[in-house]
Symmetry: C3
Subunit: 204 residues, 3 copies
Amino acid sequence: MLTAIYLLAITAEAMTGALAAGRRNMDIFGVSVIAFVTALGGGTVRDMLLGHFPVAWTQHPAYLYLVLSAGLMTTLIAPGLHRLNRIFVVLDAMGLMAFSLIGCNVALSMHYPTDVVIISGVITGVCGGVLRDVFCNDTPLVFRRELYASVSLVTCSVFVFLRARGVNDDTNLAVSFLIGMALRALAIWRDWHLPTFSYKTKSE
Amino acid sequence: MLTAIYLLAITAEAMTGALAAGRRNMDIFGVSVIAFVTALGGGTVRDMLLGHFPVAWTQHPAYLYLVLSAGLMTTLIAPGLHRLNRIFVVLDAMGLMAFSLIGCNVALSMHYPTDVVIISGVITGVCGGVLRDVFCNDTPLVFRRELYASVSLVTCSVFVFLRARGVNDDTNLAVSFLIGMALRALAIWRDWHLPTFSYKTKSE
Amino acid sequence: MLTAIYLLAITAEAMTGALAAGRRNMDIFGVSVIAFVTALGGGTVRDMLLGHFPVAWTQHPAYLYLVLSAGLMTTLIAPGLHRLNRIFVVLDAMGLMAFSLIGCNVALSMHYPTDVVIISGVITGVCGGVLRDVFCNDTPLVFRRELYASVSLVTCSVFVFLRARGVNDDTNLAVSFLIGMALRALAIWRDWHLPTFSYKTKSE
């Protein structure tokens, strides 16, 4: 179940990566790289950080081909994609939750402390998008957008909390997932933002 | 002793990270990330590079909370901070030395060759600031500023040299630390710079 | 043989890194870092990604000194370098092939699946240049340039294909290397490009 959502999610993320590459007029190699980084970068950073070798996707080349195909296909169907905007938003939210919960489980399986489990989830959830923005030479969107990383943080915290309470894992995954989706929907619908910190200096 | 300085240092570095995030109008999630990356990024890069798993801060969640609190507190007290500029400069220099010497010791404990020990120190000392600047989409300051990374390099080299001469570790740490502080103070006071390399091309 | 080409290649790459740093008016520390990252960054990323510790250059400090000397020497001889442009192009192409084939061999020695072996080669070949551009705050050139990463991809694929066919390793290396060089030469001579994907949005 989480795997099915995960596959949908990396496909959707690869497509957003390809669109970002297209905005920078990259060639199809650049499109492939950005699609790959956006879809699989979060998990890669997590694995490298936790010392979780071999890195997940190196053991599942099929994910790789899925992501590259999705990226390249996007270059063909891009003109029609703006009509699917709403579906993208849903897929992206599902992906965020799936990535986050998978990230928590990887850290749990390595017996990291609770705080690190949550951070592992958030990193898996948002790092793909951060890398996409760094490679495309933008200030990462996630640091300035409506509630996004915070939703990942809440989802991971709920999951870890319920787990400590002894809730069965399948129930727990479903509940955390749905709470995350609801929160993300609310954030978009109500246009919730985190408070912004603006700091100006004369000399610096 | 080095630990106390280290805690002061990551607090100070987290605050400089938060201010940099504020200059880019990030939300408080972005502020937390940049504070975290600035304070703990150097050690993280070092651990990932040396294969030193688990990465240090994952075993000390307290550091994490210290860094995040410092970052968030900065958003509240920012308007008054320019008065503390001099204290920041001192804390930052102490942090640079503490990070550098800790970085050397990690590589030593893994039996890396001498050159790698020194590089490990410099990476621990300066990478936090480099990552902060990359995430904030600036050309890293450290590549263009007055003597900073070079001071880390001298400190690490002195430490490694005295160690090879058989100097007792505590004495050695103190001596290297003070030489580094003196050099950094001189560099700021006298406005010392490394020579700059400027290269212009017509076509490129 | 591959080692000799490798040494030539990291020297040439360090020099291109130094020139890029010079275009950003970096000081000689920045020049050293960018030279180092450009020459050894690809292999470092590969080793961190594959969990191949210790990272290669930490066991060969001589490479380090070679790269740093090449970077610093470049600041002295830069004004005359534009005359050597053609030699640079050849050295750079040789480096790309050498890096790519070495990257394949590292992944092979760790028993990664074929797809990962090829990716490991391409990462080793192009990541140094990508890191150089990210640190210099440019959109990576390799995502937009004439056939470059694709040549690495073809070279690695040929190598892996011939290896699966049972071709002797030395012959295989030579053949893959020469095919890559020929393709790169053709790409430059005929100004071959990959198709570019441009995507414009009004609102985003």
